[in-house]
């Protein structure tokens, strides 16, 4: 039992944190809300160059051959920065799914950063489907890799404007079939788990930022002649959000370990992580808004960038209720 990251893992985390601190400031996220892609121009290429984008692709396919334990800290950073990217869909879900199904053509291109792979598992909507070159879609017990040209997209606007969601109309064909039967079904379950794990880690990161910006704000803002952060009610709101977040965080790491090592209980561990992280980010968002007061309620202030991402991710890849139910079934109740 050694529950800690390696120096290398922490160093990689710091490098990504530095990159995002420069390239993914709140004003960049805000700009992404209103631009045609919803993403930060040029940032994905930098993540590709750093090896983040294809972190999970096997080395044989040109990836880093790293696993979920390496990735989980980076997803947390993505959440902290409210990074509007395909780091869940492409990196955490699509690459391992292609590898698990033994696909190699798309995988090599994806690992090289030449194509973006969209995923239609775990949600009725595909994020950034308009920018994907190929979409991994499920039909009954089959997984298909469908080129972008063969799908019809309908935009579904999210409260987080940077999340460009689409419903996808498509027709299954032998040409697009990747796998079918029990192995394909297991691969889809694994893919959902990887998505939920990545979303959980991002939720933890978002919650942490919500707490940090709130601490900063209430440490300066005065009302009734006192710094707002000196009121006990405000302190306790923030403390409660911190407790929820700090106890969700190790669960994300445990889930990463479980998925990386394909342990028998990995599904349950992922559900633990996602349920706790969804609740933590919801709690942090409520707390942050309440402690900010009216300014937090405005579009011009940055707070809502994290808050809305938190709402969206808390409900994506299975919300807290869904995952608690799954845990209950694994416990035989």
């Amino acid at each position: 039992m050694q529950f800690a990251f390696t120096e290398d893992q922490l160093l990689f985390r710091d490098t990504v944190r530095d990159l995002l601190a420069n390239e993914c400031k709140p004003e960049a996220v805000r700009a992404a809300w209103l631009n045609p892609t919803g993403r930060v121009p040029g940032l994905w290429d930098k993540l590709v160059d750093m090896g983040v984008a294809a972190l999970t692709a096997p080395e044989a396919a040109g990836g880093m051959g790293m696993n979920e334990v390496d990735l989980v800290l980076l997803q947390e950073e993505a959440g902290r920065a409210a990074l509007p990217e395909v780091l869940i869909e492409h990196t955490a879900v699509a690459l391992p799914l292609l590898a698990e199904l033994g696909e190699s053509a798309w995988l090599a291109k994806a690992a090289a950063g030449e194509v973006i792979v969209g995923v239609g598992v775990g949600s009725p909507y595909v994020l950034y489907a308009d920018q994907a070159d190929v979409l991994l879609l499920v039909h009954e017990d089959e997984v298909h890799a469908v080129p972008a040209a063969d799908v019809t997209l309908t935009a579904q606007r999210s409260v987080d404007y940077s999340r460009r969601l689409f419903s996808v109309a498509w027709t299954p064909s032998d040409a697009t079939l990747l796998a079918k039967g029990p192995a394909a079904q297991q691969a889809v379950v694994d893919a959902c788990d990887r998505g939920a794990l990545a979303a959980a880690a991002q939720c933890v990161g978002i919650a942490q930022t919500l707490i940090e910006v709130t601490v900063d704000y209430v440490g300066q803002r005065e009302q009734f002649g006192k710094v707002v952060g000196s009121y006990q009610a405000v302190k306790h709101h923030i403390a409660n959000a911190l407790i929820a977040t700090e106890f969700a965080r190790p669960l994300a790491y445990v889930a990463a370990y479980a998925v990386a090592n394909s342990t028998p209980h990995r599904g349950r561990d992922v559900s633990l992580a996602k349920a706790a992280a969804s609740d933590a980010v919801d709690k942090a968002a409520r707390m942050a808004l309440q402690c900010h007061g009216a300014i937090g309620y405005t579009f011009e202030y940055d707070l809502h960038l994290w808050m809305k991402r938190g709402w969206a991710l808390a409900a994506s890849w299975g919300d807290a209720s869904f995952h608690r139910d799954r845990i209950g079934r694994s416990l035989g109740i």
């Binding site: 949600s123 009725p124 909507y125 309908t154 935009a155 579904q156 606007r157 999210s158 409260v159 987080d160 999340r163 969601l165 419903s167 005065e222 009302q223 009734f224 002649g225 009121y231 009610a233 405000v234 409520r286 808004l289 309440q290 007061g293 009216a294 937090g296 309620y297 405005t298 579009f299 011009e300 809502h304 809305k308 709402w311 969206a312 409900a315 994506s316 919300d319 209720s321 869904f322 139910d325």
Partner: protein, 392 residues
């Protein structure tokens, strides 16, 4: 104790219900925080006014029906149940109106109330300042007398409806020497006052629900003072107690979404895609809790209304109501969003949006409830100190 409605009350309910059935627009109006939506909503106010439904509790001479508090509560139940448009006139009719009745001169009543009732003049509230939110006594914007006018300098913010309103009711500091809540004066300010600029600010949903107001040697006539120079705190507290009390949020506002959430649960339970799993049974419990809370709020309100009609006064227990409705409102909408699952994040114009995105809109609006009109933290202090007598 008689908890059945009188024949008169039932007849009143029947009248407003019928009127609404005939008049409520089939298609939702645009957001009242857009320029054209604002005018659409003004049009709806005029339609209400034409049949004397815009200010039912006011005296007939100002466009009302002189109805009782109980009848007003019935009006509100029917209004919100019908899905009628939001009231763009609310700041005027429910906040400023009662204050003018309490503190206005006869001239002011005659000048302002009829046009407030008719929708010809829509009011915004201009109290908060960048460093004075819940803490009104910290206001800094100055109004200095110059003959029969006052010269105003300073800034207001979070001025709801402020982007398009015709008039704004403000509190300025007329005696800069006076401390805290002394030396404040309540002013009625035309939106086209020279020297006043307004700058729209987006709410969470991106629409300009607020404005910032910048005053640079703006001039306001002394006849626009409400309740006397230096009396601003007392007048504001009267408005605030309207805000915190019955006038702010009628039970009908919460009964309607609580009931719609029950219907949503029914629909979702029937329509749920089997692959995604059934509807979470814990959500059923929360839907029921929310419906119960709306009922509890309804009956608390009827009990309070009976007391007020018997000559009682609204005291600090108004803070109990404010905490209760604002947290209930958040919970009603949060539950519906959880029910909506992956559709919950969709905006109203998304094809898959549940109920045209009204739950997400409502959630974002509801989140302001625990903040404005005195944060719920302050309300809980008031409850502890003024209702229960705990030391400050």
């Amino acid at each position: 104790m008689d908890l059945t409605f009188t024949e008169a009350e039932e007849s009143f309910r029947h009248d407003i219900r019928s009127w609404l059935q005939q008049h409520v627009p089939a298609k939702s109006l645009r957001s009242m925080d857009t320029a054209d939506g604002f005018e659409q909503h003004r049009g709806w106010e005029k339609e209400l006014h034409a049949d004397r439904w815009s200010v039912v509790s006011w005296p007939e001479k100002y466009g009302g029906r002189d109805c009782t508090l109980i009848e007003w509560l019935i009006f509100e139940e029917e209004y919100y149940r019908s899905g009628a448009p939001g009231r763009v006139s609310a700041n005027g009719v429910t906040l400023l109106g009662p204050t003018i009745f309490g503190f206005g001169t006869e001239e002011q009543k005659d000048r302002f109330l009829p046009k407030m009732a008719s929708g010809d003049e829509i009011w915004a509230q201009g109290w908060s300042e960048p460093n004075a939110g819940s803490d009104l006594a910290g206001l800094k914007t100055k109004a200095v007398r110059d003959g029969d006018h006052f010269v105003v300098n300073g800034q207001k913010t979070w001025c709801s409806r402020g982007a398009f309103a015709d008039w704004i009711f403000c509190i300025f500091r007329t005696d800069p020497e006076a401390q805290r809540h002394k030396g404040l004066t309540y002013f009625l300010v035309p939106a086209d006052t020279p020297g006043m600029e307004r700058n729209p600010v987006g709410r969470l949903d991106g629409e300009p629900g607020f404005a910032e107001l910048f005053f640079e040697d703006a001039s306001v006539h002394e006849s626009m003072i409400l309740g006397g120079e230096g009396q601003g705190w007392n007048v504001a507290m009267a408005t605030a107690s309207s805000e915190r009390g019955l006038n702010l949020r009628s039970p009908g506002r919460f009964m309607a979404p609580a009931e719609r959430a029950v219907e949503l649960f029914q629909r979702m339970s029937e329509a749920r895609d089997e692959r995604v799993g059934g509807v979470d049974p814990t959500l059923r419990d929360q839907i029921i809790r929310n419906w119960m809370n709306a009922q509890a709020y309804r009956w608390f309100t009827f009990s309070t209304a009976t007391r007020l009609m018997g000559g009682g006064h609204m005291g600090p227990e108004a803070s109990l109501m404010k905490v209760f409705w604002s947290e209930m409102d958040v919970e009603i909408h949060a539950t519906a969003l959880r029910l909506a699952g992956a559709q919950g994040e969709l905006m109203g114009d998304a094809p898959d949006a549940v109920d045209d995105g009204t739950w997400m809109d409502g959630y974002q609006f509801a989140l302001s409830g625990p903040i404005y009109a005195g944060t719920n933290e302050i309300q809980r202090n008031i409850i502890a100190e003024r209702v229960l007598g705990l030391p400050r």
